[in-house]
Symmetry: C2
Subunit: 342 residues, 2 copies
């Protein structure tokens, strides 16, 4: 009898494949189950998108430096991001929360202020949930529901050879924000007098603490009449997400270091902390930008758009997934994104 691989060995995606690989869908309304940013159901000619995320204290967030209002906002935002990654429109959310005895009504009010702010900003209805206690710490489970049109819904598996690989916004900033918060937490622990020094780095903190789902990108694509061939949101780092798109589309990719959009503040702090900025972008994660591919013929339509950057193109699967560095060497992309089960 061969022993089963451990959960650590399997990793998050391996475990999900192991547990759900044999599932068979039986309901006629189910169009797509496990494996993309959101599941897809069809109700009365509407494509309904459904996605769930669980955030646990000490693993996904540290309440020492995460204001509860930001946590509430972020818990909603990262789920809406999954709906956007299907080229969909977020419509509703449910929230289930477990809290330990240390939480007060005031703290819950703060958390809900963030939840409500995100709902208001993205015109999403909070339609249900569950509130309960936990033995330790806080757990938040958010389910987001959205809609997409039959002809514009975008999966991870549609990338075609020669497609242009695009990302929204800039990358690596959230990771540098996290490193900054972790550094200041250590400083504060050793020295109770010093005040945290975040001056000039507010952008990085905001990127980590208050990410925004890129609904604006979904709107821009619609306006410019561009239907991406594949799309995913960047939660685990650019490398990991490109590998997801390529695996599911059975393709390869070539991206160019010089093209990866990195903000000047990200770059400066990375260099100060002896981190290669490209590494922050490739492996950092939590940027919640959109990574997508478009047909070469659509490139002209988005060329002038400052919020979107073309960073490479899709190749045959046999060519593998590579980063071409500024020094013109080819480095194979590896999934070094965060493993929540490690």
């Amino acid at each position: 009898m061969t022993e089963k691989p451990s959960i650590r060995e399997l990793g998050e995606f391996g475990l999900i494949r192991h547990l759900t690989g044999d599932l068979k869908m039986v309901q006629p309304e189910t169009r797509l189950g496990v494996g993309d940013d959101a599941a897809v159901c069809e109700y009365g000619n509407s494509k309904v998108l459904i996605t769930t995320d669980l955030l646990t204290e000490g693993v996904h967030f540290d309440l020492i430096y995460t204001p509860l209002k930001h946590l509430g906002y972020k818990a909603v935002a990262v789920n809406l991001s999954d709906i956007c990654a299907m080229n969909g429109t977020p419509k509703q959310i449910t929230i289930a929360i477990a809290i330990s005895a240390k939480f007060t009504t005031e703290m819950m009010d703060e958390l809900y202020a963030g939840i409500k702010l995100a709902c208001e900003k993205y015109q999403v209805d909070l339609i249900g949930g569950d509130t309960s206690s936990s033995m330790t710490g806080m757990t938040l489970a958010v389910t987001a529901i959205g809609t997409a049109q039959e002809d514009t819904i975008t999966y991870r598996n549609g990338a075609l050879e020669n497609d242009i690989i695009c990302v929204s916004g800039d990358l690596g900033a959230a990771y540098m924000g996290l490193l900054l918060l972790e550094r200041e937490k250590r400083v504060l622990r050793d020295n109770q007098i010093t005040q945290p020094d975040f001056e000039g780095n507010e952008y990085l903190l905001e990127r980590f603490l208050k990410p925004e789902p890129r609904k604006d990108i979904v709107d821009i694509l619609k306006e410019k009449n561009v239907i991406p061939t594949s799309m995913i949101d960047i939660s685990d780092g650019l490398s990991s997400e490109i590998l997801h798109l390529c695996q599911q589309s059975n393709k390869g990719a070539k991206i160019y270091e010089e093209k990866i959009p990195i903000d000047l503040v990200t770059q400066q702090l990375a260099e100060k902390m002896n981190i290669i900025p490209t590494t922050a972008a490739l492996n950092g994660g939590e940027d919640y930008e959109l990574l997508f591919t478009i047909r070469p013929s659509d490139y002209e339509k988005i060329k002038g758009e400052s919020k979107i950057t073309a960073i490479g193109h899709i190749t045959p699967a046999s060519a593998g997934c590579y980063l071409i560095t500024t020094g013109d060497s080819a480095i194979e992309l590896k999934a070094q994104g965060w493993n929540p089960l490690a």
Copy 2:
């Protein structure tokens, strides 16, 4: 400045009201938000039901006496029960799980065996989820999605004066099962040699460890052409659920002790443990039976049905909610169900 009430003072429902009372729905697809067994959305002429529950280790389940397969089954069952309580048909679920380092692949396989068994039995598709780690113990968040027809969907607020109050199955058994497991856990702690003694009480254990959503009742009502005027599932105990129906319908109720369906095994163990069987039924909870009201004119249609018992009738709100005992005294119903935030 008045101080805010504590979470303990507010209780689960008070806290939810406090946090969500000011919500305004903006999406045209949202038909009903927080406040019933499930939220209701309308997608392309289909009524889509959505409900979420969070189960945390040490609060909702004790892994010392809960086999993981049963836990997986129950986590799905209790959510499907919420869909049934809207007179709907469960269609899909998503599951988000956080596990601590003590969990192995084999344990996750056991959990998923239960999840898959429930899905198979109720023909529900597991369409998505999230797997992550927690600092301590296990947390399970399940979202169930279902459909209902415009003209048969049943809310909590539709009970009318003189309606007959009905329950499915029998009550109090799950609570006696829990007490039995707790008793054996104490015995085992004090005495490692004794084997747990469950003989003759298997029904009670099964009722607690492996509850079934009453989809069969939804089917029977449909078949007999009965549309309940209001419905809720019994998760917190009969008292608490009758009060929910009456509050939301702005009505009163009179139920009769002698009519409350209690299994003989439940009755015998309750008496052995010095518990009044009616108390187990009223306050025990976790039976996941359906409590519903029907028009008096529909009574003939369900009269012979062994799975359904009429236990009383709806009165004007001013008459309050009362239990008429076998001794013919009237006792006001109080919500003494389990408060997960206490």
